[in-house]
Amino acid sequence: MLTNEEVRSKVLDIIADIALDDDVTGIKDEVSLREQLDLDSMDFLDIVMELKKRHKIEVPQEDYTRLASMQSCVEYLAPKFNS
């Protein structure tokens, strides 16, 4: 059973690898990722692809908006990590 903090850290690992040039240590959980980092729709596709590759988690296209901020990522992904 992963805690929310552990889920957050796994998501952060992915984002850090995708946003090569960004500093991800100071990400604010409640603010949208796009506002804080240099991420576009191609990068969000990569977050989805990495979740599938690393953690076998599938995110259907209609749920992409759930990945908008770190907080919503954790809320949405925690049950998937733990199922």
């Binding site: 946003a19 090569l20 040039d21 240099d38 596709l45 990569d46 989805v48 590759k53 599938e58 995110v59």
Partner: protein
């Protein structure tokens, strides 16, 4: 049992390699098939007389400084997970658009170009600034953009035909498959990549880029077969099922990304379709000249000169072997970092494939004499560009449209491909997609973006 992979990529050029990296990164089993013995496609390299030469690459467009974000170059580096610094790109000094009555200078800073236009075309400055805003706000990569010719749009902002011609000149010759004009989306891509972002050159030339891509592909587990020609694309009931290579072996696959070109791809497809994309008309000759002195010592500090000796710029297939009145001259020594011990001069002319092909068929001796004409004419253009003739030529090599055809297999040696593009990469056959030149993004950066976006759109996203 035939060999089976998820996706076959035809061509190990910039787009094919980029697509291969993206797909193998996400555990797709891919195979890149390359006809030639080395990679690079239209942007490749060769050695002759103990010297290394780039083909295609004059300059890399889309130059970005280390702290700029969200630009095409950064986007594609992120997608490929290759750090920007590894390309070791050094900016140009400046470039010139040299017409009979005016010369405009531009650098990698658009403000410099704005001031040039204010000085030389004071009546047009407001129009030019409005055009800039229109370009900045235009989403050129939206695959659903309508095709509209760029000169019609630009003339709404700029009244001076002379200025219109001068702005179009570098953009046409660095990437238009159409004669004398181009689609507005393509114009915006070219304008941003050249005037708003600018020119650079990787240390070590095109090899640096190719080596980085090959290394990354290898890390991701992607495979390439060289000297492997796709002799047939096999389909069944309108769906792709595999390819035949070198006239014998069959490889099965779920999808194909072909960077061969649209007409070239269709020519090996086994299905009879009522669909025949047209072959492009534009090809080039190039003289590569190695000199004992460097251009700076001969009075040239520009990196690239877009030379045109007519009031209008004729970007079209010439009625002669090559166009005598216009050329692009590149001085690779004149980037911020100089890779070379000697002077390197490259003079590129628009050329007529059919006429060169006839010469070649007629006699190899005559063909070589005509190549010498290209070279001699190149020397006179260098003189017209203000270069001193006080140098010794240590080596020269000349290529023609038939050379381009031989090494790239593009019909007519059409460097910028067909005039019919498949913007979204689809073809009438399900599972068969186009990437590279005929998907419509050009230049080295455009090609890599094409490979990445077609891999994303048609293979990765559709598998989610």
């Amino acid at each position: 049992m035939n060999k089976m992979v998820d996706t076959i990529i035809i061509g190990a050029g910039m787009s094919g390699l980029a697509a291969g990296i993206r797909l193998s990164m996400y555990n797709k089993k891919i195979l890149i098939l390359e006809k030639h013995s080395i990679s690079g496609g239209l942007n490749s390299y060769y050695s002759r007389g103990k010297r290394k030469f780039d083909v295609g690459l004059h300059a890399l467009t889309n130059f970005v400084g280390p702290n700029q974000r969200g630009k095409p170059f950064n986007k594609l580096m992120k997608q490929l997970r290759i750090p920007y610094e590894e390309f070791k790109i050094h900016p140009q000094s400046h470039s010139l658009i040299q017409f009979p009555d005016q010369t405009l200078k531009f650098t990698n800073e658009i403000d410099f170009f704005i001031e040039e236009i204010r000085t030389h075309f004071p009546d047009e400055i407001d129009g030019f600034i409005s055009l800039l805003n229109h370009i900045k706000n235009f989403n050129e990569v939206d695959l659903s953009n309508e095709v509209i010719m760029a000169k019609i749009v630009v003339r709404n902002f700029i009244k001076s035909e002379a200025l219109v011609e001068m702005i179009f000149c570098p953009l046409l010759i660095y990437g238009s498959a159409w004669e004398n004009d181009m689609d507005f989306s393509q114009f915006v891509i070219m304008f941003k990549s050249i005037f708003l972002e600018g020119f650079g050159r990787p240390e070590g030339g095109v090899r640096t880029i190719i080596d980085l891509l090959l290394k990354r592909l290898d890390t991701c587990g992607g495979e390439i077969l060289f000297k492997t020609e796709v002799s047939r694309i096999i389909s069944k009931d309108g769906v792709v099922v595999g390819v035949e290579i070198n006239g014998s072996e069959i490889i099965e696959c779920n999808s194909i990304l072909s960077s061969m070109g649209l007409p070239e791809t269709m020519s090996v497809l086994d299905a009879q379709l009522d669909y025949s994309p047209r072959t492009g008309n534009l090809s080039f000759t190039e003289s590569i000249i190695i000199t004992d002195k460097k251009p700076k010592d001969l009075g040239i500090d520009a990196t690239i000169i877009f030379y045109n000796n007519r009031p209008t710029y004729l970007y079209q297939r010439p009625q002669t072997l090559f166009d005598h009145q216009s050329a692009v001259v590149c001085f690779p020594n004149n980037f911020l970092h100089d890779d070379f011990d000697e002077g390197v001069l490259r003079v590129t002319n628009i050329a007529n494939f059919e006429l060169w092909n006839q010469e070649l068929l007629l006699s190899k001796v005559g063909y070589n004499e005509k190549k010498l004409d290209v070279y001699n004419h190149g020397l006179s253009i260098l003189k017209n560009c203000g270069m001193s003739s006080n140098f010794e030529v240590k080596f020269k090599d000349i290529f023609t449209p038939t050379t381009v055809k031989k090494y790239t297999n593009h019909f007519n040696g059409a460097v910028y491909g067909s005039i019919d593009k498949s913007r979204n990469g689809t073809t009438p056959i399900a599972g068969l997609y186009i990437c590279g030149t005929d998907q419509g993004f050009l230049g080295i950066v455009g090609s890599m973006l094409s490979g990445i976006s077609m891999a994303n759109l048609h293979v990765l996203q559709s598998a989610l």
